[in-house]
């Protein structure tokens, strides 16, 4: 019997609901006499709507409402400033078209089939304008954003040019990463229902509190008149941080029709109506002495932003804290394009930033004729090199060493192209991982009844992360009751306020609140009250530790890849990640998140690429047949090890973020393994067979295939 249930690999407490189909996601919600809404989206990338001809659609069988900007109810105006995800999100709000695939009409009918058919009958004519859709081609329009989530857009220390000139070996390389689409399996959907002037919206959102504010403010109704429910969410990955047209349009239509309305985006619409990860162009310059110590680091990033709504892909932010070097430079620039809105996607900034910097480190290791693990070990800083504060905890060295030992890194071929397995050239790759650790204020309510049954309530969400389970573990541990005696209720705006699921801050923010509320209950029990009718509501917030310490979680990825010498196809053969994320609340669900993140990294290295049609600015491969994500056949043995740890500076429970750490650096490990396998260095992600084959065909590489 373990001392505590905290950290134990217990099964998810919502597991039975999920495997039997009983778990209700937004689109599963049912209502009396519902109507179904289907969104019509723009077919130009930039322009103005001349006319929305709804006559034919309106006359179609079953149609009860057709809404466009010509007849949509007035809503609060869109705001650029303020809490990004809590802002008003007015829909069908004007004739202006900002991007291809923007909602321009809503068709509501008695059935889904009728609405789908009638949506095709809406005729929209446009005054089309020339749009800008190409990131590289529009780099002259790049500007410096005011700020990043992590601080200033630019940073410098020492004299980069001098430090770069001092290097015995240097790397000066440009890496490009494509647009990516979150594509959670659950389609974004909302069911809106009015009861007098009170609105209930079942929607798919990671941030219930932000959705609550966004919906109420858009409709200009009091916050207390709106309830947002998101009990189960079918994956988020950042794609459900904002709310979208489905929620607002369902609410507007339901109010007008006086009946519940359900609006679900199609998979194709998910690519443009919801957000995406911006494409980037990143220049990395590294210099090191013959001793392998970096003398200079520069990481300069250019990323796409929607012209209508700025978002900065902060790809170089963690580079400021990762390796020691006296001379440093980071820059972020944004190129406004007439593209859909970019936003956070699993490990925003870090995921793509480390595709670049961790491949550059590999390139430098080869130039120095140094093991890439050893290169990283030699550049371990003693404090945060730019913030000049200590790390809260940092076990990168242990991650690298443990991973190298467990993976069998000593069997790595030191010369690329020398390890063969039939038609395959085999290579090993390593990359380090770093992800900012965040914490936000959160409030939890805990109740205990006369049978000592404990109920935890928060507007927090479980997007697959395991929130339901770990908060039950925290409560069971704090109050000394069996886990079966704890009920966790999440995903309802009527529960106490939390930051929700995003930025890997959910557990670190909410677990302390649950713990503290349980301690209040315990105090009452100790004072002789209860056990029945006990309640405590406690807010827990970060303190000065986030200023006094540099806070990150860390990891090291080791990948073995095979490259087919005749097709150029790269396939993952096995992968191991070792991670330092402080205290782990549940080693089963945390491992699943880390492994899932690593596989996302594999996808970013080999598969994912939302291709822009440069004529119209649309993502041309906007479905799951065209936009490739890893599937079963792409994923062999992938495992994650979590180092035992406790980071008391992060929060008093000692945990750090897990959900985004796994993807950080993972793709670079695959890219580096491809180079190790066949001597082909591809800096333009994803690394598809055509690119590898072109490299293999070069004379220098043909020699390695013998």
């Amino acid at each position: 019997m373990p001392d505590t249930i905290l950290g134990q690999p217990i099964d998810r407490i919502d597991g039975k609901a999920k495997v039997t189909g009983a778990a209700r996601y937004a689109g599963d919600r049912r209502a009396e006499h519902p109507a179904f809404g289907v969104i019509v989206t723009s077919t130009v990338g930039r322009g103005t709507i001349n006319k929305v001809d709804i006559k034919e659609a309106q006359a179609a069988p079953g149609v009860v409402l057709v809404m466009s900007h010509e007849n949509a109810p007035a809503q609060a105006p869109f705001k650029h400033a303020g809490d990004r995800h809590a802002r008003p999100k007015p829909q069908l709000n004007g004739a202006r078209v900002h991007y291809y695939g923007e909602p321009v009409a809503l068709v509501v009918a008695d059935t889904f089939e009728q609405a789908t058919a009638a949506a095709r009958l809406v005729r929209v004519s446009y005054q089309t304008e020339m749009g800008a859709y190409d990131l590289a081609g529009n780099r002259r329009f790049a500007y410096t954003p005011a700020e990043l989530v992590q601080g200033k857009p630019d940073s410098s220390l020492g004299d980069f040019d001098k430090g770069f000139a001092q290097g015995a070996q240097t790397v000066d390389a440009t890496y490009t990463t494509p647009y990516q689409s979150h594509n959670p399996m659950e389609l974004v959907a909302s069911l809106a229902q009015w009861d007098g002037d009170r609105l209930t919206v079942h929607c798919a959102t990671q941030l219930v509190d932000a959705a609550h504010h966004s919906i109420a403010s858009t409709l200009r109704i009091p916050l207390e008149n709106v309830e947002v429910i998101s009990e189960f969410i079918g994956g988020g990955f950042g794609g459900k941080l904002p709310i979208y047209g489905d929620a607002i349009l369902a609410a507007l239509a339901a109010r007008q029709l006086k009946r519940p309305v359900k609006v679900t985006l199609t998979r194709q619409q998910m690519f443009s109506v919801t957000t995406h990860r911006a494409a980037t162009i990143q220049r990395v310059r590294l210099a090191a002495g013959t001793d392998g110590k970096l003398t200079a680091i520069a990481h300069e990033v250019m990323s796409q932003s929607a012209r209508m709504d700025e978002f900065v892909e902060s790809a170089a932010a963690s580079t400021r804290s990762m390796y020691a070097a006296p001379n440093r430079l980071t820059r972020h620039r944004v190129v406004p394009l007439d593209m859909p809105v970019s936003d956070s996607m699993r490990a925003p900034g870090d995921a793509v930033g480390q595709l670049a910097i961790e491949q550059a480190m590999d390139e430098l290791a080869y130039k120095l004729d140094l093991d890439p693990v050893e290169l990283r070990l030699r550049n371990e800083p003693t404090e945060d090199p730019e913030k000049h504060v200590p790390y809260s905890t940092r076990k990168l060295v242990e991650c690298l060493k443990r991973g190298a030992a467990e993976f069998g890194w000593d069997k790595r071929p030191s010369v690329p192209g020398t390890l063969k397995d039939g038609q395959w050239l085999v290579g090993f790759g390593v990359a380090a991982a770093i992800r900012g650790n965040y914490r936000r204020p959160a409030t939890a309510r805990v109740r205990m009844d006369e049978n000592r049954h404990v109920t935890v309530e928060m507007d927090m969400t479980d997007i697959g992360t395991g929130s339901y389970t770990i908060f039950a573990q925290v409560a069971a541990d704090a109050l000394g009751v069996p886990i079966g005696q704890v009920t966790v209720k999440l995903g309802d705006s009527s529960y106490p306020q939390t930051p929700g699921s995003g930025g890997s801050f959910g557990a670190a923010s909410c677990a302390p609140a649950v713990h503290d509320a349980c301690m209040e209950i315990k105090k009452k029990l100790d004072a002789g009250q209860g056990p029945g009718n006990l309640q405590a509501e406690v807010k827990s917030a970060p303190g000065e530790e986030f200023k006094k310490f540099s806070q990150y979680s860390y990891g090291a990825h080791f990948a073995e890849v095979g490259v087919d010498t005749s097709t150029g196809e790269a396939r993952l053969r096995r992968m191991l990640g070792v991670f330092d994320a402080g205290r782990i609340y549940n080693s089963k669900t945390a491992r699943s998140q880390l492994v899932g993140g690593m596989i996302w990294g594999v996808g970013s290295a080999l598969h994912e690429n939302a291709v822009v049609d440069q004529r119209y600015g649309l993502f041309v491969n906007h479905d799951l047949a065209g936009y490739h994500v890893p599937v079963h056949a792409d994923v062999p043995a992938v495992d994650a090890i979590m180092l035992a740890g406790f980071d008391g500076k992060s929060n008093e429970m000692g945990s750090k973020g897990v959900g985004e750490l796994g993807i950080c650096g993972a793709g670079a490990a695959v890219a580096n393994a491809i180079y190790n396998a066949c001597g082909v260095r591809i800096r333009d992600y994803p690394i598809t067979p055509d690119k590898v084959l072109r490299g293999l065909m070069r004379p220098a590489n043909l020699a390695q295939q013998r």
Binding site: E113, E186, G235, T264, G596, V631, H632
Partner: protein, 169 residues
């Protein structure tokens, strides 16, 4: 246009009048309230809507309800309940073969159908010997045959472990 459709779903007979455009998926979800079967793409690209039609796995979104008159459908709700889990459902919980759970009903129905394909000796792209009466349940076969079921949380290693475990029984 409405059509008459008679289906047996999870052992219960339903005689319905439906729009001829109604897919099996929308019939299950919107007409019968069986929302365990999920809509992930509506185009046969993700597998979230996989159900068993007369024991054979099918994407419910790719089958018009009208084309299934007289057929027997088993959905995730018919496979097992929270009180009496199907061994595949239990194995998914034990191996943490899901995170968000949205693709899970499809993965589980697909896995059950897939195991019967192995027993019946239906070959896949990775089957070495096409003459065998039954195909061995090995990891490569499972991964190949389950590739029509996308899991964006990427619980793949755990899903495969769950299937291999449940399949042994």
């Amino acid at each position: 246009m409405t059509v008459d459709v008679g289906l047996t779903v999870n052992g219960v007979r339903h005689d319905l009048k439906v729009d001829s455009r109604t897919t099996l998926l929308d019939l299950l979800r919107e007409h019968l309230g069986l929302t365990g079967t999920k809509k992930g793409c509506d185009h046969g690209q993700c597998g979230a809507c996989t159900v068993l039609v007369d024991g054979v796995r099918k994407n419910a979104c790719m089958n018009l309800a009208a084309s299934l008159d007289g057929r027997g459908i088993v959905t995730i709700e018919g496979l097992g309940t929270e009180q009496a889990l199907h061994p595949m459902q239990a194995a998914f919980i034990e191996h943490d073969g899901f995170q968000c759970g949205y693709c899970t009903p499809g993965q589980i129905c697909s896995a059950v159908g897939m195991l019967s394909e192995l027993k019946r000796g239906l070959p896949s792209a990775v089957t070495a010997d096409l003459r065998e009466a039954a195909v061995d349940m090995v990891e490569a076969e499972v991964r190949e045959r389950m590739s029509g079921n996308i899991c964006r949380c990427a619980a793949y290693p755990n899903i495969v472990a769950a299937i291999l475990d449940a399949g042994k029984a």
